[in-house]
Symmetry: C2
Subunit: 423 residues, 2 copies
């Protein structure tokens, strides 16, 4: 081991870890000297791999005095949380792809790192290979960003795209996606929006320079989106996407959410298909920009991990306070608006029990709840004398909308879908 | 003037300079202390503007010992070239938006800056507010980028979008764009592709880490694109865009060009309309990413200038060698492939003098020149007994294509358009 090489300790050698290892192999000034894994004897898809650097004890990595940078790629809260803190105490800089840990304990971790004058970089935690965190913190640093709309979960975007293209049901496409490895056996983390919620929590925190608390992020998954909704949305000039969004109003109040949304076909996000991710940011002075690319996978995610490693390596030993722009120390926690108090446009699909006078009745209920309608269309009358009615509203307060839905259902109709529409 | 403030000297207070000035006003640690302008008495659209910081002598800015960073926003080769060199000699770091200067004298400037241990940052020179240069040099640093396809000129993209939407001619839309201020009175720099060529020269240089010489960049403008071509492209599933592209083959040979291109509607670039810019980058390990946003304008461009200023400011005085990743010192100059030796797909629009047997004849000429056809369509027969024939080829060597075109014309037909197709 040469003294002038920068030494990396890897925790986790799964898909991303393997990509990182392979990509760093040709570097002469950087070397991965220790890797913690679950199973030492598992075959590794890496050429010229030296098994002797493996250990099953993660603490051998974080306690190794030779190691400069610890790269945590196991995910989840524990043991990652304790390992990272120990590594920082031991004087290591951190590179991580752990979105859940950052969303749940980011504040504590970043303050802890700052106290020890170490950096935690996490480009790979949000939107895989898309350059996002570093650009926001460096070249976009002069901006007041006040709006984010993003597709941050590849699994759900794959499912929604397939539903749209094939006219297939959620259940059928999920099964297919599981077969192809695009969705996990227990898909809850993706399809219920947890994964996207973790990511938007950290993304909004750095973009707004105010800490967002995960518990204040409204979350709704894609399990109730129907093939019929896709069709209706298409006819109206929209695509349905699982959108992670964050807004900051003039008073500094944040509105952060994850839910399905009708996105205008004129919007770039409407054309982001399958496992691709995309992030649209708006702010002053930059205006509106969109960054898109692969949101997951061995190599795209490795690109971001390695970018972080190279950024640390470039300044390591050359300054007492490296990467000043990449530090994360937001004292202020954002006040978050309750979803009930937000104002949105809605797409509503109603199955009306009795066709006669039903459009008038629905119109009256909406008017009584201060809801203006942009369009109301009766799409088809089935043989059982019910009608499918599609409504698009103007801007409405969420609580008024929920009230109206209750009344429409009390009237004997079935509300099949209530999906917010991009404004 | 407080001693701990970072002092900026501005050369040029036009559109971008004004945006920079306004955006920096609230900063407490950064101050613009001197601004060189053509006309001191011109009214400035800036609140609380102190006229006493103005000078008509640019050398007062670059020679001011108090100034830490010189921000050059006048464009063109001279006097910008001499001013920047003088400023570097005087120990200043440089922020510039000057794409022409970088394309023509980048190598000399960057070497000169490196010799004096100063940085030249230029995020605003390419694609306005889109984060591009800094991401490529930092978070994407671990990638071997081998392909760029980009819309880098807002004026031509505006004209092409309008031609597409309105079915209007180039001449009509240009006139309209000039009226709205989107095109200059002499539009040559934009419509003949010079502006995009400057930008792709520097962009390819940093992406490939090999210097590209401007004279090796093939350049073709949009003045020959017809409304009929737009229509035909649309029918075939394409949009026509002015694409700045750069490819690096496995042998390290570069192919850098600016010309109109048929872009598949499935591609993100096809949906980048009006003055928006976009850059698609492909490489390993990241895969393919696309960055889009405003390519020009007071505030978007100011965002990039200020990002560069803040990056320098963050490290100024804290390290002897600031921003190591942002340095530009490519010793190697790329070998560039002559356009004649490149392989492309083509869209060809032919007006055939005599309908009888003409498709067969064109097919024979193509076959003799080793050109396979993907489709050949006779679109309409006019009253004068001519036929409009649209051909899409498979991959063909450029010199074979040019040869075939000559023979088709010698046969009495008119080749109205020859536009390359995205592969």
């Amino acid at each position: 081991m040469e003294k002038n090489k920068i030494k990396i300790g890897l925790i986790g050698l799964g898909t991303v870890g393997t990509g990182v290892f392979k990509t760093l192999q040709p570097y002469e000034n950087i070397e991965i000297t220790k890797v913690a894994v679950k199973n030492i004897n598992k075959p590794r898809n890496i050429e010229n791999f030296d098994n002797s650097i493996l250990t099953t004890d993660c603490y051998e990595v974080v306690n190794d005095p030779e190691i400069d940078i610890v790269c945590e790629l196991i995910g989840g809260v524990e043991p990652a949380f304790s390992l990272i803190k120990k590594a920082i105490e031991n004087g290591k800089h951190i590179v991580t792809a752990n979105k859940e840990l950052l969303a749940k304990h980011g504040e504590e971790l970043f303050n802890f790192a700052e106290k020890h004058n170490k950096v935690i970089l996490y480009e790979a935690a949000i939107a895989g290979g898309i350059p996002l965190i570093m650009p926001i913190k460096t070249i976009l640093a002069g901006n007041k960003i006040n709006k984010i709309e993003a597709i941050l979960n590849g699994t759900t975007n794959y499912i929604l795209t397939k539903m749209d293209v094939q006219g297939a049901s959620y259940a059928d496409v999920l099964k297919e996606a599981q077969g192809l490895g695009y969705a996990e056996t227990d898909p809850t983390g993706d399809v219920e929006g947890f994964d996207a919620a973790y990511k938007i929590t950290t993304l909004a925190t750095i973009a707004f320079k105010k800490r967002i608390k995960l518990e204040n992020v409204y979350r709704e998954g894609i399990t109730n989106v129907r093939a019929q909704d896709m069709l209706a949305a298409n006819d109206l000039g929209y695509k349905i996407k699982l959108i992670a969004s964050a807004k900051l109003d003039e008073n500094g109040n944040a509105d952060v959410r994850v839910h399905p949304m009708l996105i205008s076909k004129k919007s770039t996000l409407a054309h982001i298909d399958y496992v691709t991710n995309a992030v649209s940011l708006s702010g002053h002075p930059v205006g509106s920009i969109t960054l898109s690319g692969p949101g997951a996978g061995e190599f795209p995610t490795a690109s971001s991990v390695i970018g972080d490693i190279l950024a640390i390596a470039a300044e390591l030993g050359k300054t007492d306070y490296l990467l000043p722009m990449m530090r994360c120390c937001h004292d202020e926690t954002a006040n978050c608006i309750d979803v009930k108090d937000t104002i949105n446009k809605y797409y509503i699909s109603i199955n009306a029990k009795n066709n006669k006078g039903v459009i008038g009745k629905i119109g009256t209920i909406c008017a009584e709840n201060d809801i203006s309608l942009a369009s109301i269309v009766q799409r088809c009358v089935s043989e059982d004398n019910t009608a499918d009615i599609t409504v698009i509203t103007e801007l409405v307060q969420e609580k008024n909308m929920q009230n109206a839905i209750k009344q429409i259902e009390q009237d004997g109709n079935i509300v099949n879908s209530l999906i917010r529409v991009q404004v």
